[in-house]
Symmetry: C2
DNA sequence: TGCCGCAATGTTAGCGGTAACGTTTTCGGA
DNA sequence: TCCGAAAACGTTACCGCTAACATTGCGGCA
């Protein structure tokens, strides 16, 4: 009993219509210059007429390359990663790769699960948005011998390629900027507390300690970040440390939420309290007052990740490397 | 010359180690109860030890089902769609499907390209976030005979399943709410002007006309929506219609941007100008004053889409249907 | 004329799974 | 003890495409 053919148009159908073998059709699609002009035109016509859509699964199975790459981000709703995604997507699409996206919900266990899933899908490479993974994820990636880019933060010990920025230095820089602006009782407010946030916190502490200032005004929570949470955290901080004159929020969402809370309390920003955020999202440049923040080169990180990944995919040898994409302090009205 | 095997562990490797045929191993993975206890345990052990990861491409090629579904959204950075995505993802994952996401950048041509791409990947179904497609996309979808869910807005003529809300009715409702609150010189400000925004605009006009009010205070642009744009549009409107007493912004980003612009101009909201947005994003409940908006059931739309899609994937017949998920007006401080 | 080399195309043998059907084993009941 | 059906497992033939090698045809040159 012959297996039911899916009914889809296949290479064979094209080949029969044109009167060549299916290898020639396949070749025509992959290396057009290796097929004669006349045959090529007739094949192209047949593809058009029959509405042929190549079956990537079959192609991937046969060639061992799927021309797809997995991009794992912590959260889709967080606009921080949408810029990275755009950069990655653009760079990889140019090179003929399709990006398959997954979101880990900030969980390395979920990341592990997704790595497994995408390996099953036969992706040719990974772009991860962290340098922290489970042991099993490490083993999976090592065994698969695929190019991997770890993005966002830097690490001393990259799996393969690492593109990001020094989160701790950025935290320190914004701390120093606040100190330079004359603030002395500077608070830190952080949510989610993933590795990157911890680094920013450490940088903030570095700056304050170096200036001989107290680092006690630190309010953190494992809850996910949101505008409202920014307001709640700020309220709690104002209660505990009424003398606080500036707050560095670990991200822009919290900073904006804190700003709204100040408005609600008729607290003048920056007159009575200065605010600073992190990432440089659109909103920081739209609020009143505009928000001081650390602008992170998310788009550039994505593009660079794509560029390096493509090099590896096209044969460059595996040579672990780190790429510091820097950051920029944007001093705005809120400080 | 034998073809270079990818080096990956395959069913065959498991089978050899256990001393059974690979069909038995395959069966053990798909229908465990059809394999004897002892063999099953030994197979499971071998899978564990050898770190076997099934090759989905091969499975899909052979069975004709890939257990994956494409979800196409206009924009990843727009949080409106991340809620839909979450709903879809959750519902489909439960049923064993993997969601592959693509973003169209609000272009139906790009949507067409993505449909083509994902058909090549052999997805088993589509979730689209519009009811507007190119002719070619229509043909592709019809020919593929796959279940398709069109989401967000409603249509009289669904391709297959349609889950969304009546955008025009929602626009009318917010218009009526503003009128009921006593506003009479109500403006509309819109960006991007995709189909949904046009519907909201039409609804707003319906409400104003029904109340005998002027619909001239309408400022639109094809530019993509953003906070800053909200401010710019509001400025332009205040210049043209200084007597305006309320503005319905086609989405929350514009409304928030407009609010920030009011703060910049020291214009009291709602005292001097009332503002309303659309979608019910987090920010509307965080700003000061909080923003009146239309809360759209995005999560529910995603979940319902997933539910209906799974039914179809599991054999329910194709029977075009529309599902109105409704909306809710949230009157807040800004009106 | 005969031989060489290259361009254009074809043949073969898989890639790693699964559907369909075939065979063997097991076991209860007549 | 023997029979027959179900449970357990195996064989075969693909799914649609491509790598590697084989073949054909033709022009150019000695």
């Amino acid at each position: 009993m012959p297996r039911r053919s899916s009914g889809r148009v296949t290479l064979q159908d094209i080949a029969e219509r044109v009167g060549v073998s299916k290898v020639t059709v396949s070749r025509c699609l992959r290396e057009p210059q290796r097929v004669s002009e006349t045959v090529r035109l007739r094949i192209e016509e047949a593809i058009e007429v029959l509405n042929y859509i190549p079956n990537r699964q079959a192609g991937a199975l046969s060639s061992g390359r799927s021309l797809s790459v997995a991009l794992l981000v912590p959260s889709i709703s967080n606009s921080v990663f949408s810029e990275v995604q755009r950069g990655v997507d653009e760079g990889l699409r140019e090179a003929g790769y399709q990006v398959l996206m997954g979101h880990t919900g900030y969980s390395i266990l979920e990341e592990e699960r997704l790595i497994d899933t995408f390996l099953a899908y036969g992706v040719d490479g990974f772009v991860l948005s962290s340098t922290r993974h489970t042991d099993y994820a490490h083993r999976l990636l090592n065994r698969a011998r695929l190019p991997v880019v770890e993005t966002m933060e830097l690490t001393d010990n990259p799996l393969d390629i690492n593109v990001g920025l020094d989160q701790r230095a950025a935290g320190r820089a914004i701390g120093e900027a606040l100190i330079a602006a004359g603030y002395r009782r500077i608070g830190f407010c952080g949510a989610r507390l993933d590795y990157r946030v911890q680094q920013r916190l450490a940088g903030w502490e570095d700056a304050l300690k170096a200036a001989g200032l107290s680092t006690q005004r630190c309010q953190t929570t494992p809850r996910p970040s949101s505008y409202r949470l920014g307001g709640e955290l700020l309220s709690a901080m104002l209660e505990r440390w009424p003398d606080m004159d500036a707050v560095f929020c670990c991200n822009d969402d919290l900073a904006a939420g804190a700003l709204f809370e100040c408005q609600r309390r008729r607290l003048d920003v920056p007159g009575q309290l200065a605010l600073a955020g992190f990432n440089g999202l659109d909103i920081t440049d739209a609020t009143w007052p505009t928000l001081t923040t650390v602008i992170t080169p998310r788009r550039a990180i994505g593009e660079q990740a794509a560029r390096l990944l493509v090099e590896r995919l096209q044969g460059a040898p595996c040579d672990p490397s780190c790429h510091d994409m820097g950051f920029e302090i944007a001093l705005r009205q809120s400080t």
